[in-house]
Symmetry: D2
Subunit: 159 residues, 4 copies
């Protein structure tokens, strides 16, 4: 296996402009630090992160839900065509050593859940927060900005 | 299609004794009201709900993650063997017209996420609560007891 | 688990009229012998088999590829909505103790392959035949008519 | 998307020594011609093909069935961890523009079936041959040696 870290960036396909900027900067910083970017391969946060990574010469992998590589955003270099719909959310996080969540809706929440269930660290940038049976769950590690999120993700990406 | 409603009961495989009692009563009430119970087929909340449903003559379906029907709890009448691991969580909720969540950990949270993402109503009995970007998300409909949970689920199970 | 055998019927969604008649008779005979019918839930051979089973009071399960129970044929009593596309072919055969293949195209062949790979007996009614590296593979057990196919399937459905 | 072709190499995990040699040469030739190799990530034919590709500086992707990247053979550079078992066979072929099958058993046959069902060309090196309803099916394109197989695959990898 090449000596690289695999980091997933997850988030919605209809981000705010601020979230898109954050995602692009996360992608750039991952590439600068030599990490390989994994995402769901579609638009919004996924596309912005890939765009950022590609601009710095990084490698981008898109794990697509549908039946065609044509659905990948134009910054995905390696499209994985799963044909299994949203069940591919499991593969997005399991293929990563750490996950960075940016905003996002219920699809993103399913990915956060799968990551935490698998013991994969999740770094959050203004995303979901969780309580279970009335008690705060602090498993999502907060970050204040893209650089901090990438630093934390890479430090935790050990398995 | 037979004139029945399909309701999923989700929750952890290591529930408290109180959660197990709640799950069993949910299963009984679903059966009394003629609904078909869908679950992940394993132990804990899933087993307690199936036990309750079977005791009242209800039908129980277990959508299993692994490769063998032998993993089903002994109250599952119809084991579906998917072989796709936790990706079967998607099938558990998509096969239901409403979902009742009892306690639960991250696997349960992935099922809640998938249900909400698919527009399937989720009724919660002392389970997860969610905030997104600092704002409370009230999509999980609370219930105070098993009877109320089943009533709400059946009323919302229209699609 | 209820004291029933689970038998999958697989085949194309555009069968010849003769294949559709065979499928319907297979469904009827499975129901007469008390077996539960599992199929992919869609049209063609799947629909004909479900129609036959229902006409004799049998139970029919359709494991659907898409996101909606509405895609099930009208003789499916228990629709399982997987959302995983053709990857559900694995669940169709793994949920059965024996498989009856009627004609069929490449989708059916993928199901035959999965069944044989899992050690699940496959009975063939004018379906695929296989050679590997120039040698005939006789794993698909031939049957001459629906009654013989059902008898062989039920005799082999022991695991 | 990078200007590369994606070719899947499929085959058993217990190949003959001759099959392993063929797989390694297929991997080498794919790399020489600039193609990216996709496979199921495990041993046997998959490992031999990855070894060959890596020896010529090629890129290797392993789409794994289980829950851990540790299961990848040591020549996989990009491990995709799906967690969906044999249902990942669908992703292996759908992620490719053409497929080269070397020997193989029922798992390989399921991949051949999925590829043909999706309209993805399959080149065969001493692998399965198929008859449907008593008529030979010539969809698997034969090749006599690794170089011919790679040439045919690359020529057909247009979609």
């Amino acid at each position: 296996m090449i000596n690289k870290k695999f980091i997933a960036v997850i988030g919605g396909n209809q981000p705010s402009s601020q979230e898109a900027k954050v995602a692009e900067e996360v992608g750039r910083e991952l590439a600068r630090q030599g990490a390989t970017l994994i995402c769901g391969g579609l638009g919004g946060v996924m596309e912005a992160a890939c765009k950022g990574a590609q601009s710095e010469g990084g490698v981008t992998i898109g794990i697509l839900p549908g039946d065609s590589r044509q659905a990948a955003n134009s910054y995905v270099q390696i499209p994985i065509v799963t044909g299994i719909g949203h069940a591919r959310n499991l593969a997005v996080v399991k293929s990563a050593q750490a996950v960075i969540a940016i905003g996002g809706s219920y699809g993103t929440l399913s990915e956060i859940s799968y990551a935490l269930n698998s013991g994969i660290p999740v770094i959050g940038l203004n995303t979901w927060s969780l309580s279970r049976k009335g008690h705060q769950d602090n498993s999502i590690i907060p970050a204040q900005n893209p650089i901090e999120a990438v630093d934390k993700a890479l430090n935790l990406a050990t398995s």
